[in-house]
Symmetry: C2
Subunit: 214 residues, 2 copies
DNA sequence: ATATGTGGTGAGCATTCACTCACCTATTAA
DNA sequence: TTAATAGGTGAGTGAATGCTCACCACATAT
């Protein structure tokens, strides 16, 4: 499917952007992400990171001057590249197709996002945790994500509402339910460690019914 | 409304149980909760707690021997008292009323939970954050909450399904959507700092439509 | 050959922080 | 009056941890 291909392209962009990074530094990044997801950022020591990456502690600090910079380096590509690419990708698929139905749109969103969650459980878990803990990160992220939603998603929602295909609620509420429902699936996978393959149709049906006009 | 009264009773139980606690220790608990919610558990020092509570650092350790014990003391009453009382309270209202419709049940749940979220934003934020970070807490909590849901909520769901009032999905999926949708409202309030007063009807409508039979 | 730069190392430093302890005060018990 | 107990204090401590730095290895340029 086209959306999956494009999403993978977003990943590969990140990987390509980290092409200049020497191999041991990649190990450091990978170990950081793993440990942050397992134990949380604050409960992870740089010594642990070094040991899991199989490098000396000095190596951890060679490129990333502080532990915070390391967290930023792990999350930044997702915030500045993957998520925007993801949203704009969605836009390309959906915005320019004026006859797309609610069902078709939700199918796209759900399919896409489930694949995304599957491929990024660890990063997403770290990101959500740190968003809850660090109010500065919250304030940094909001102006980056909100306009993207407004310019891409909201236009589609307005059109569907005009066609009486979508319930007449404020766009932020509808986005809340769409994104929130997807995140319940992430939460489920964190709790149960179960795979997400079966989830698609149910999530889709729940959203489609819940967001149908009255 | 009856459910709100009962829920307040649950709060008061906690407060009453902490009746033996000397006043300065209550200040310590209150300051801990505030700071944990603002900065996260790991980013909060015992010196900060002491200073916000207006006591000496030794006082913090008089009753609670470790910082972890302090976190437990803050969360425990909610895990062992408030949440179970809350669920069983729900049971009393709903389980024994065989003619209750989906609409009535969801009204109860949504009304109740919104009030609960409003009154417990801080604790819930700390609880969710720590659940994401500490896998041990996750494993400790699951066997305490799951049976409660199964014995109380699931019975009602089964009956509604039998009456063809509720969509025929597994109970855990339905619970996921119910709880998840409520949590999206908590997330919204964390992001926007907006009050939750207006949310009730929309959440209710979304759930009711989403969970209606096909 | 020499110099320069990049990536890597790990012992060690400075600081922070959870936690302790000897002491104080006040209330209750004997 | 004395003893005992409980709550409170804050300077002090040891361990942990983020971070540095002098040094090494190797490649490329001069």
């Amino acid at each position: 499917m086209a959306q999956e291909t494009n999403m993978q392209a977003a990943f590969e962009n990140v990987m390509a952007a980290s092409g200049n990074i020497p191999p041991k530094q990649k190990l450091v990044l990978a170990a950081s992400l793993e440990l942050f997801a397992e134990q949380g950022f604050a409960n992870t020591t740089t010594k642990e990171i070094a040991s899991r990456a199989g490098v000396a502690e000095g190596t951890v600090y060679k490129r990333y001057k502080t532990k915070d910079a390391l967290l930023a380096a792990v999350l930044a590509p997702y915030v500045t590249e993957v998520v925007p690419a993801f949203v704009q990708d969605f836009a390309k698929q959906v915005v320019n197709q004026p006859y797309m139905t609610l069902h078709e749109m939700l199918t796209t969103v759900v399919t896409d996002r489930i694949a995304f969650i599957k491929g990024n459980r660890a990063v997403l878990q770290v990101l959500i945790t740190e968003i809850l803990v660090r109010s500065d990160l919250r304030k940094q992220l909001t102006p980056r994500v909100l306009p993207l939603l407004q310019k891409n998603l909201y236009a589609v929602l307005d059109r569907l509402k005009a066609n009486a295909e979508l319930v007449d609620w404020p766009n932020d509420r509808i986005a809340q339910f769409m994104i929130g429902t997807m995140i319940t699936e992430l939460a489920r996978s964190i709790f149960t460690d179960e795979d997400l393959d079966q989830a698609g149709p149910v999530l889709l049906a729940f959203l489609e019914k819940g967001l149908a006009p009255k």
